[in-house]
C-alpha cells in the first residue's frame, strides 16, 4: 500500500470531513503548513509593505490563507474539497473561497493577481482519477490559465511533494511550455526530513531591465 494520499483516492474524496478536521486540530500539521506558507510567501518576493491581491491554489481549510492575511494581503482560495472549504468558511477566514478543480483551468480575468502560492497540491494533478482525466492536458490547462490571470512580473510558488524525477520533469516542463520561466528551489537538499521542493515561476517580468529575474537561493 502506498502512503501517498494522492494514491488512495481523488482529493475531493480523500479530504473528507475527518481529514479536513485534522488540518485544523493537529498541531504538527498546522505548524508544517505554516512554515511552508511563510517560505512560499518569502519566495514570492512581493514589494515590501504593500498589500497584494493573491491567489492560494488548493487553499484547503485556510491555514496558508491565514498566513497571507496576517501579512496584510487580500486573497482568493481555490480547493476541490467542499469539506475543507466549509471548515475554512466556518473558521471565518477573510479570503474568498471557490470550489474548483484546477485541472479544469482558472476563470479569472487577465492580470488579476499579484502572485500565487500553492502548498502540497500540484502533485495531485499528475493523477488520472477519472477515465476522462489526461494529466498532461490538465497540467497544461492549469498552467496556461494561471499564467493569464497573473499580473506581468508576478510569481507563483508551489511547494509540492514529487514522487519521482519524472514527475518533477512533467510538472516543470508543463509550466515552461505555458510561458513561465523560473525553476525548482530545493531547501535543505541533504536532509531527508527537512527537504522541501518549491517550484518558483515567473509570469514574464515587470520593469525595464529586460532581464529575467534570478531564481531565489535555496536554504
Amino acid at each position: 500500500m502506498s502512503s501517498r494520499p494522492e494514491h488512495t483516492a481523488p482529493p475531493e474524496i480523500f479530504y473528507n470531513e475527518t481529514e479536513a478536521a485534522k488540518y485544523t486540530t493537529n498541531t504538527r500539521v498546522i505548524s508544517i503548513q505554516n512554515d511552508m506558507s511563510y517560505r512560499a510567501l518569502e519566495l514570492l518576493a512581493l514589494p515590501e509593505d504593500k498589500a497584494c491581491y493573491l491567489l492560494d491554489i488548493g487553499c484547503g481549510s485556510g491555514l496558508s490563507g491565514e498566513v497571507l492575511e496576517e501579512e496584510g494581503h487580500v486573497w482568493v482560495g481555490l480547493d476541490i474539497s467542499k469539506s475543507m472549504l466549509d471548515v475554512a468558511a466556518d473558521r471565518g477566514v477573510e479570503g474568498d473561497l471557490f470550489e474548483h478543480d484546477i485541472g479544469q483551468g482558472l476563470g479569472f480575468r487577465p492580470g488579476t493577481f499579484d502572485g500565487a502560492i500553492s502548498i502540497s497540491v500540484v502533485q495531485w494533478l499528475c493523477n488520472a482519477d477519472k477515465q476522462s482525466h489526461n494529466p498532461y492536458k490538465r497540467l497544461s490547462r492549469f498552467f496556461t490559465t494561471l499564467y493569464t490571470c497573473l499580473a506581468r512580473g508576478a510569481r507563483a510558488v508551489f511547494q509540492f511533494y514529487p514522487e519521482s524525477p519524472a514527475q518533477i520533469e512533467m510538472i516543470v516542463s508543463s509550466a515552461m511550455k505555458s510561458g513561465f520561466t523560473g525553476g525548482l528551489v530545493v531547501d535543505y537538499p541533504n536532509s531527508t526530513k527537512a527537504k522541501k521542493f518549491f517550484l518558483c515561476l515567473f509570469a514574464g517580468y515587470a520593469g525595464e531591465s529586460g532581464k529575467a529575474p534570478e531564481l531565489p537561493k535555496a536554504l
Binding site: V74, E94, D96, L97, G111, T112
Partner: protein, 121 residues
C-alpha cells in the same frame, strides 16, 4: 465571495468567450463583513477593476454607493466607497449565471461552485 473577486471572475466553460463577463448574480443573499481600510491597496486595485461591471452589479444588488462613471479625481471618499462595495460586501447564497452560455455557478455558504462537467472542459 466579495464583489472585488466577482469583478475578476469570468465563465470558464470551454468555448464560452463572448458575454462571459460579468457573471450575473441572482437570488442573492448578501452579508457585510468589515475589513480594514487600506487606501493604497484600493488605489492599486482601480486599474484592474472593470468599473461598469462593478457599478451595474452593485446596482443589481441594491447598492447605490458608487458613481456610474469612474471619476477622474480619486478622492478618499471614492476609495472608501470602493472599499465598502468591493471588499466588504459578500454574496453568501445565490447563483452566478453566465449570460453567454447559460452556465449556473451555485453559491452556498459564501462559496461558488466552479466545477464543470467533462463536456464543458
Amino acid at each position: 465571495m466579495r464583489l472585488i473577486t466577482h469583478n475578476m471572475l469570468q465563465c470558464h466553460v470551454k468555448g464560452c468567450t463572448t458575454n462571459n463577463f460579468p457573471l450575473q448574480i441572482q437570488d442573492a443573499e448578501l452579508e457585510t463583513l468589515e475589513a480594514e481600510f487600506n487606501p493604497g491597496f484600493v488605489q492599486r486595485l482601480i486599474p484592474k477593476l472593470h468599473w461598469g461591471a462593478l457599478y451595474h452589479t452593485a446596482v443589481s444588488l441594491g447598492i447605490e454607493d458608487l458613481p456610474e462613471q469612474m471619476p477622474e479625481e480619486v478622492t478618499e471618499d471614492l476609495l472608501r466607497a470602493i472599499h465598502k462595495v468591493a471588499l466588504e460586501t459578500r454574496v453568501k447564497e445565490g447563483k452566478a449565471v453566465c449570460l453567454g452560455c447559460g452556465h449556473v455557478y451555485p453559491i452556498s455558504n459564501g462559496i461558488p461552485n466552479m466545477l464543470l462537467q467533462d463536456n464543458e472542459v
